[in-house]
């Protein structure tokens, strides 16, 4: 119980520090959102008058406290560029990113884990070396390069799949629109599946060396049962935590893939907002992502405690 409380408290403290960094850090970015909003022709006078109208000329600390107070009540503020609430701006992007991340996780799990198990079971063989080599290769290739060539082959030359964009599944087309996410999810899945593959393999090999596995084998339990009931279940412990972080990373770091496939996701939105100096949107997205990371972190920590009683508070 105290472990849970301690961990939760730690997470909250981290969040508090993070909020400070988010706010001040972002306001360090040079450039001015109002010039972007009003355009090339705007005079400094017009810009300054708009600045005071939007209360952007208050001292930075005051702006921070107002932001914090608003966030506590669920209001992430108004986008400077769009002149509408940040939550509204993020909403569509969030749908795309979450869907993309989820589909990618499915590929990663379907490919990474079984292949990792096979490699571990055939440890040392040509198959194992080959698979590990391929995994390493996939983890080394720049994702956007893979993506661009997938587009070239499957969309431009063969015409099997759309090259880009993403009409929402809640609109015309319905679930068939998921095919727009096929190439992007495969592109994102490649390096991550490779990592999960290696992690599964390494984890299984580590567990297989443990004494209790030797005991199980000595007891005469069938090899397959040993693998699945004992080795895999314990090895998956390490892999599961990686899943959590991978999912969080997929949502926030898919920006390059989103750019290549012109997907209206969160990553794209953040980069565009940075270029437009749309501070409220940048802050809002980073805050949400940090909260997501911390929650996942917390859940992983707590799950370790539950799943493996040997873990104790450091």
């Amino acid at each position: 119980m105290s472990y849970t409380l301690h961990r939760t408290a730690a997470a909250l403290v981290t969040l508090a520090f993070a909020s400070v960094i988010i706010f001040f850090f972002i306001h360090l970015i040079p450039g001015d959102p109002l010039y972007v909003l009003l355009g090339d022709v705007a005079t400094p006078d017009q810009v300054e008058r708009l600045r005071s109208k939007l209360a952007l000329d208050q001292p930075i600390f005051v702006q921070y406290l107002r932001w914090l107070a608003n966030v506590a009540s669920g209001d992430l503020g108004n986008s400077i560029f769009f002149q509408m609430p940040v939550t509204q701006v993020i909403r569509d992007g969030a749908e795309t990113s979450i869907l993309l991340a989820s589909i990618t996780m499915i590929w990663i799990t379907l490919i990474g884990v079984p292949v990792g198990v096979i490699a571990a079971m055939r440890h040392g063989s040509w198959l194992d070396q080959g698979l590990s080599g391929v995994a390493m290769l996939l983890a080394s290739v720049p994702t956007f390069w893979v993506g661009l060539y997938l587009i070239l082959i499957f969309a431009a030359w063969l015409g099997w799949l759309p090259s880009s964009g993403y009409p929402s599944i809640f609109e015309e087309g319905g679930l068939a629109n998921l095919r727009y996410l096929l190439l992007p999810s495969l592109t994102l899945a490649a390096p991550n599946a490779a990592l999960i593959l290696r992690l599964t393999r390494a984890s299984m090999l580590d567990v297989a060396r443990e004494d209790y596995i030797r005991t199980a084998r000595a007891k005469g339990i069938r090899p397959a049962r040993v693998v699945f009931r004992h080795i895999l279940r314990n090895a998956l412990l390490a892999v599961v935590s990686a899943f959590g972080f991978t999912f969080a990373a997929l949502i926030s770091e898919a920006v390059v893939t989103e750019t290549v496939f012109a997907l209206p996701g969160i990553g794209q939105l953040v980069v565009q907002s940075i270029l437009r100096r749309d501070y409220p949107v940048i802050q809002g997205i980073i805050l949400v992502t940090v909260v997501l990371y911390l929650i996942i972190n917390l859940l992983v920590d707590l799950s370790y405690r539950v799943l493996d009683p040997r873990v104790e508070l450091q």
Partner: protein
Amino acid sequence: MSVLCQSMSRGAAVLAAALLLSSQAMGAGILRYATIGEPPSLDVQMGTATIAGTIGNHMFETLYAFDSQYKPQPLLATGEKIEDGGKTLVIGLRQGVKFHDGQEMTADDVVASLKRWGEFGARGQLLMKNATSLQATGKYEVTLKLSEPNGAWKNMLAYPEGGPAIYPAGIVSAAGNKPIEPKNYVGTGPYKFGEWRPNRYVELLRFDGYSKLPTPGDGYAGARVANFDAIRFVPVPDVGTRVSGVQAGDYDYAEFISGDLYDSLKSNAAIRIHRNGAPLFGLFFMNSASGILKDNFALRRAIQTALKKDEALRVSFGPKDLWNASGSLYPKGSPWYSEVGTQAYSAGDPAKAKQLAKDAGYTGTPIRLLVSTNYQAHFDQATVFTKQLAEAGINVQMIVVDWATLLKMRGQQDQWDIFVTHHGFVPDPILITFMNDSYAGWWKTPEKTRLVAAFTGTADPAAREKAWADLQALFYEQVPAMKVGDAYSYDIASRKLKGMGDSTVLWPHFWNVSN
């Protein structure tokens, strides 16, 4: 005509329009337009972003509008009386024009809109700084009094980008200098605001209560018939995606396609190319307020002498169809076209430039060139020019930043000597940025002030054209900026779109267009 006759003929016109609209409404569907990016606020009075103008033109209207010959014709106005030597303008307004919220447009709305535009609008000061009074002198009449006549007044009232769009009085007065929020986008245009989903699309819906003019559509003037149920503007930043989207049928129209793809698209039977009839031009602005170029016109001329501009144009824009190395600030065919001063436009003589620079006192100090990477053409041109200037012994140091940073740095006088931007086509030279003394670059000399006063002080077209030629000569003598050349952007459309014409006037518009 008696009031009864008037209302009956108007009623008949409305009925005919309604029948026309409803018969074409069947199966016209949605037009999907792939844009180059997300627009900032669509409050067109406040900002000058092209994409905001393209979208906003369907929702908002101005008192006058340009026909295909770039002449302003009455749109929301019926006509005008000019009194007092051009200092008093009495503008009559059309009756029965409805806003999207169902209210009728009256003089109060026009006065409120023009007042706000004059005070806070992007280009409002150009006209309204000399306004002594603006009043509603009747339910359908406004009177504007200026302290001096301004020959460009009608052009300014007709230009919607950063211009006096007419909004309802209540909304515009409440907004003040804050951009109007999407929920309050109310105008008089053939389409009304539907929905804005950031990163996905901006959707406009047909406005069934639109009052169209009886005259046929001509450019932006005349009747505007909305044939589509809705128009969706989808931001697609990647040009390759825009193109493949049109080919695949995902979009009906895609704007700003890059020059490299022109040749292969021209031969594509399924696609029509719409070249913009109104060219953009790149401008390299000199810092007239501070730094090495401040008062040194001779050095500026030396710099321009070193440049061979068609090389930069070829690298930035590609096929010859899409650019023109012309020194005149306006293209041939425009009443403002002139060759005065253009001998200095692109001499391409590095040896002579070196000598001129030396004579001007240049000793090799680095000249800071501020350029952004967001517009590839800017960066390409800057790269080419830097190399050409190096051959003339002129040392240029490129400061490469992103556009938002450039906009900020540009306002700091000691941070740069030259900055790079481009300029859209404007129907009246008074709207060109460097004509405004406070625009970055800060060009303000006694000669300029004199010539600008002569230019705006008369409404006689011949006199204005002469004054403009003098200004162009001054432009090449004092070099407040260097023109790179004319660039014709082009859009592509599916062949099913009818009514577009081969080239667009200013921005593409989708009234009088159908599938």
